[in-house]
């Protein structure tokens, strides 16, 4: 049953992915600027330009270019970046881990923080604590990551400079890491000096990215928890003398987690999209930061590769959420 549901989901998402591929491809081909024109030196001859054009596969018809692109994707070849003059896949694999670490750290923080707020808000829902939480949450819901990122940079990077303003790792900390997953690796190899420096660099971008998500989690989970708390089985447990905290965590949470999970998945994809601007603000060396440069430089192969990576992440997140929902909600398994 689960396999069937997932298979169905997989075919739908494959269709969506194909749609995304077509849209991006067509969009990029109607760009008025000529990417080749941006990379030639002023004295280049017409034949040089033609050679260059052929080298990047820009000389065929739109359809043949698309066919060529699809074909090479299946061979794991994403082409050569025009602005960096390097293999796109290589560049992406080099930069992606930094972004993944940022996203995962942000997700963890958002779930922990949002979840805690929801539980606290549920327990004290009829007191001033609950009202305060609602008010602060309204603020967090309204203000996007872009504004938080800049505000943090201003306050904790400049006015009260306690955190590093840009980058991923201080050069003086010396990395010596062998994998691109610095954060995980430094922890596993017990290099706590590197781990601390990485973490200090992560604080502001992670906070900026996770606050809006945490607010959504807090709001939806709290509503679901309060609804669950009114159910008969919770009342029964309450009559048995269970404490309020245990009541929320043991009884209500398991029934409230489903709707929260679905929304967290959707919102997490927004968070991943938010890395584009947040990484830019903190000069963090991930794929989001690179995406802006790629667009400004009209680096078609790189943009296509980046969009593909983002689309794959989105689809992976959605599938994972579906799977988790099946795990948490047995009722969905038969349907």
């Amino acid at each position: 049953m689960i396999a069937m549901a997932l298979l169905k989901r997989l075919t739908t998402t494959a269709g969506t992915l194909a749609g995304v591929a077509v849209v991006v491809f067509v969009l990029l081909r109607i760009v008025p600027g000529d990417p080749v024109a941006m990379m030639i030196s002023p004295g280049a001859s017409a034949s040089d330009i033609a050679v260059l054009r052929a080298h990047y596969g820009l000389d065929g018809s739109l359809l043949s270019q698309f066919g060529l692109w699809l074909q090479s994707i299946f061979h794991g070849d994403l082409g050569v970046s025009i602005s960096l003059r390097r293999n796109v896949l290589e560049v992406l694999l080099e930069r992606l881990p930094a972004t993944l670490e940022l996203c995962i750290a942000a997700l963890e923080f958002a779930v922990l923080f949002g979840g805690t707020v929801a539980v606290v808000g549920t327990i004290w829902r009829n007191s001033w604590v609950g009202e305060l939480i609602d008010a602060v949450n309204g603020l967090l819901l309204a203000v996007p990551d872009f504004v938080w990122a800049l505000a943090f940079a201003l306050f904790f990077g400049v006015l009260w400079p306690v955190l590093p303003l840009s980058g991923r790792l201080d050069p003086s900390a010396g990395s010596g890491m062998v994998t691109p997953f610095f954060w995980a690796e430094s922890l596993l190899r017990l290099r706590f000096d590197v781990f601390a420096d990485l973490s200090r660099h992560l604080v502001m971008p992670v906070l900026a990215l996770s606050l809006p998500l945490a607010a959504v989690i807090a709001r939806v989970l709290k509503d679901a928890l309060i609804e669950a708390m009114a159910q008969d089985y919770v009342l029964l447990a309450q009559l048995k003398g269970m404490s309020r905290l245990r009541l929320v965590l043991q009884e209500a949470l398991s029934n409230a987690i489903g709707p929260t999970l679905a929304l967290t998945g959707v919102q997490f994809t927004f968070l991943v999209g938010g890395t584009v601007i947040t990484e830019r603000i903190f000069a963090y060396p991930g794929i989001g930061n690179m995406a802006i440069d790629a667009v400004i430089n009209r680096d078609l192969p790189l943009i296509q590769g980046l969009v593909l990576v983002f689309a794959v992440i989105f689809i992976a997140v959605n599938m994972l959420v579906d799977l988790l929902q099946l795990v948490f909600n047995p009722r969905l398994r038969h349907g």
Binding site: T16, V20, G138, V147, L150, V276, I296, R298, V307, A311
Partner: protein
Amino acid sequence: MDEAVSLAPPTKAVQSHSPRWRRQLKVLMSEPKVAGAGGFILLLALVALLAPLISPHDPLDQDLMLSALPPAGFDGAERGHLLGTDNLGRDVLSRLIFGTRITLIVAVVAAGLAALIGTTLGLLAGWYRGLVDGSISRLVEIWMSFPPVLLSILLVAVIGSGVTSVIAAIAIIDWTRFCRVIRAETMAQAQQDYVLAARAVGYPRLYILLREILPNIMPVLLALVSLEMGIAVIVEGILSFVGLSVSSDTPTWGGMIAEGRQYIHQTWWVLAAPLAALFATVLCFNQLGEGLRRALDPVLRR
């Protein structure tokens, strides 16, 4: 339902509108969020309109003798430059005041266009269902599997920078927000008895959609438009920040933020002033949307 008896095309009785208007306004103003946030936005509109009259300096006037002056109250502040000056000696307050113009133009036009596209498609999808709904919903799904920020940067890079492009990009990306909600609302309204009655009387389907269902969706739509205006303000800020909005001689909040970020260690106030303005504006559009939804929804009002 005395109208239901006659099958003739309905003729709306001419009513005097002013009492109803006043009543609605009263309901709206009784919601503190609408009064407060709406008041702030009106003030902002006034500032944008009167920018040349109230700004203390020319926003483009450079004076290198007076560059990088801190805001009033800090060491080295100059009289007449309340919020200080930037690296080129341009007055921050004046730039902030003129920046309101682009911000509000983008907010109103982009949100209006996104609402127009999204509402039209959402109404059609929710009312006609079937193939129409299938294709529109599919389109929405493809659209939404894309990081909006990346898509907007991509779009503006494709169609070129400038206010028009920014507006077009926001409308092209954000119509899905309207489409999804309006589709769901339309489907919910279509189940109501009044729609059934209108159909029984034999009104044309399109007529029912536009004259019966649409007015009932208005409260939701208005709230969405207000929220979208807040989003548009942010997207314009982001695009200016990345350098893809208007040219650098037109002062915008996003452009100031980009400059401020660049020289954050020298002139932090160039970042702080537009950031605070952006923060307040987004918050107000958001609160206004929330307030409108509350004030106009008879169920929530109770």
